[in-house]
Amino acid sequence: MIKNYFKIAFRHLWKNRLSTALNFVGLTVGLASIMTLGFGVYAYHSADAFIENKEALYTLKTVETNGNVSDQTTYPLLGEIVHSAPEVIGATHIQGWNWPWLKVKDIETQKNTKYVDTSFFKVFTLPLKYGNSKTALKNKYDIVISEEVSRQLFGDINPVGQTIQADDSLNLTVQGVFKPINPYSSVAFDVLLPTALLELNPGFKQGADWYNTFATNYLRVKKDTDIEALEHTVLDIAMRNYQNTEGLKKLRLDSFLNYREGYNPTVGKIIKGSLATIFFILLIVVINLLNLNTSIIYNRHKELAVRKIIGSGKRSLIMQFCIENGILVFTALLLAGILFVQVLLPAMNAIYGSRFGNIHFNLGSDYPLLFGYFLIGLLITLTVGVLPTLKIISFPVVTAIKGKIHNSKNSFFVRNAFITVQFALAIIFICTALILNNQIHYMQNVPLGYDAQGVSIVKLNLDFKDREAANSRIQILLEQLKNNPYVQGFATTEVIPTAYHYNYNDFYDPVTKAELNIRKGFTGTGYSKTFGIPLIQGREFDERRDASENNSVMINKKAMEALGWKDIKNKQLTEKGGAEETYNVIGVMEDFHYQDMQKSVEPILHYYGGKRGLGYNNRYLSIKTTPGKETVVLNTLKKSFDQIPSRHAFDYELLESRIHGQYKLLEGILGTVNYVAFLTILISSLGMFGLISLMARKRIKEIGIRKTLGAGVGKIAYLLSKDFIKLVLLACLIAFPIAWYVMDKWLQDFAYRIAIKWWMFLLAGVIALCITAVTVGFQSVKAALANPVKSLRTE
């Protein structure tokens, strides 16, 4: 019996091979996309699976009276909390500082390193492959490494107890090796060191006081802990110890469950968007199958009636349709799997990998997903196999066998509603793609307020073997740059446009007492000139006044305005906290876009970072060359740098490509939206194409008669396609407000945004209409061109 079902199913699929092929293509691509997006969502949600009992896990957030919320607190706070709040079982910082070079024999590596407290393993239940999580990191000189680092340094042995030399000076003992962490996890690191070691670092120790807020805190609390009471305790500690409690409103305990969305809202959006897209693609795919199946089944009502008369029960008829659809769906699922692993997943990694890490499908651990996909396949099969069948088999056989069944008004309505929904979705995606495309184009072309042309960026921090020697060599190189005719300017700085740290502090005017939270960084001589940032008042830093320049700062126009100044004559700024140093404001820069256009220009302040060279703060060497001469200058520089012994190789990047790179994630999202828009319109058109060919077949007699009565090709093509065109127009009406609403909301995320224009919708509508016209037109013209004598005879 089953064999018979399959045999018939294959013959039917073959008989309707056009619609089978259309269904199959749409299904395969749709399912592959669902798989890929689903895998992304799954990877994201399972990434933190190793952390047990997340409900009891909290992070600390600083809430200020002005509404600002940040993840950072002062460093000593956490120790004090553990000390005085017994409900806290364990707490840890995950502190980034330096990434030491790890050396075993001749092998050296530098990986993402984090400093954590002794109870780290109580907070994050990170499973260890080797070692004991109860004792690891208890000792100042302990180190815990990832499986990958372990393999790199030690090969395949258990390295627990072995020694690693850090930065050629410290001997660390391996106390644990942890299993690979999913790249989408909230916590990312390859090497763990105890904070006790970090506290030995004078540079760190100096800042780790009760003033600077830079530490992130993770706490695991006892069950049924009164969080509000704990927050009170924490605030109490802060109020007693903080050097600056002004503006501090609260220290909030945020559940770790909401951690990632809060940390990076874009990720939350991507995940939500993916889920919605999965649902919509699924909807479109199912609608297609339902519509086509309904049409096909109406063409097969006679066969169904005969089967009933010769003894088939309803159940076996439904079974037959389910098997036919099952073959289609599961073959498509299989092929989609290949497409997913081979094509789409690598494509997704290319888009999001650089930002979030590459993910790979691993049958061993990701098998729950396979069940999910299988279930989706089964669900689709049942839906599209059972629903269209139910109605037709309830018709009395007598009517069916005489061929008196016609699509009822009701089923036309359902079909039309389906098509409208499909196209509305497709149009929404097209609108989204168009608007996002315009926004990105706008952000990339808006004047930056500085001149990026001809500017190259060299990373100075190459981990030189001998820093002193390197510095003197670099001094010579910089002298040569000064004399290079192609070099118009250069600077060595801590910050450059596209790379400003999240480093803020409060400053006040000692005269007016006006206070302002300002973003800050170290720059130096030649900065404004190199980047072509217009000075509106005062002067640039000048290394010839090196001795006094340490008391000088430059600000941007925004800061000047926010401080209520008309000019900077005799103006000073005092930095709060610590020594309360006062600086002379020597220059005001025009507001230039030092970060991407998603964010607005804030008040910024530049300290003087010392003479040009490999100073303590200087991370970048920026060189402005005559346009076109970048390669000449940089290649000469490279040759000289290569002679200085260092762990990293000399590398440079054009500022323009860095600026472009800021939008990589957005462009990735745009790429995905483009793809989905294309996919939805493709699948919808395939469905419509199949429908209209079935319809033309059904109306072949009518077309023949009309033609014999003198209707032209245009008339008949119009007759067949007008309903579909109407549906697409209706879909436009539904889609436009939704697209407008969604995009308007999204654009609020961008500090500098385009206005949504009516022509964007018009264009989306025209695209959808053109595609419909081509799809429908092709089939209807074909039907209209058919010889009426032939079509009438076949009846």
Partner: protein
């Protein structure tokens, strides 16, 4: 008594008027009878046949099949009854296009869950008997009308029905093919004792039967 119809009425309502398809039909059919139903178009022949075959319902009256009150049976039992005992032959053959001759004949057995070896034996017998062994792997579209109808009859007979209902079985056939089918019916009736009820327009075909039933405007006008 195989079939007994008592005061069968069937009507449709259209625009407030009741239009009778069948009026007060009383009919008894003995096991082994061969009845030809005749009458002009729209006289209710096919409706009567469909009611006999339990494919269609009626609005009033009693119908006993093999002693069972069909009018009181639930749909499920009714369909079981006709699947067991009734075979249908159609004017337009109504073979399943996607199935070969062999498969078309085999299908009713599949639905009855007959075991595979038994199916094979039964279908082979039938192919032999109708002399279409050589055509068993062809599809309906590859056969002539007469051959298709032969397959149709074979399919109707495969489950050994007591009653064979035929709605103008020779309507689409030429006279020679028609005569062959009629001969076949006659043989089935006489040799195997299958009760046959056929609807026909042709006097000549009607003559193959043992009894002629004439309908006009939904009434039996002569038996």
């Amino acid at each position: 008594m195989l079939i007994e119809l008592k005061n069968i009425f069937k009507w449709v309502n259209s625009g407030g008027n009741r239009f009778f398809l069948l009026k007060d039909i009383n009919l008894k059919i003995e096991q082994g009878a061969f009845i030809s139903v005749m009458g002009p178009s729209g006289s209710g022949k096919s409706t009567l046949l469909n009611i006999l075959g339990m494919l269609d319902t009626f609005d009033e009256g009693d119908y006993y099949f093999n002693g069972q009150p069909v009018h009181q049976l639930k749909e499920k039992y009714r369909s079981r009854l006709y699947k067991e005992h009734i075979g249908f032959v159609f004017q337009a053959y109504h073979l399943i296009d996607e199935l070969t001759v062999y498969e078309n004949i085999e299908t009713p057995l599949l639905y009855k869950k007959v075991s595979s070896p038994e199916r094979k034996a039964l279908v082979s017998d039938m192919l032999d008997r109708f002399n279409i062994v050589g055509k068993k792997d062809l599809f309906p579209a590859q056969l002539s009308g007469g051959q298709q109808q032969l397959v149709g009859v074979a399919r109707a007979l495969i489950s050994k029905p007591k009653l064979l209902l035929a709605d103008e079985p020779t309507g689409n056939l030429n006279s020679k093919q028609g005569a062959e089918i009629m001969e076949l019916f006659k043989r089935l009736n006489q040799e195997d004792g299958v009760t046959v009820v056929q609807v026909t327009h042709s006097e000549k075909n009607a003559a193959y039967g043992s009894q002629i039933l004439e309908l006009l405007d939904g009434r039996i006008i002569s038996k």
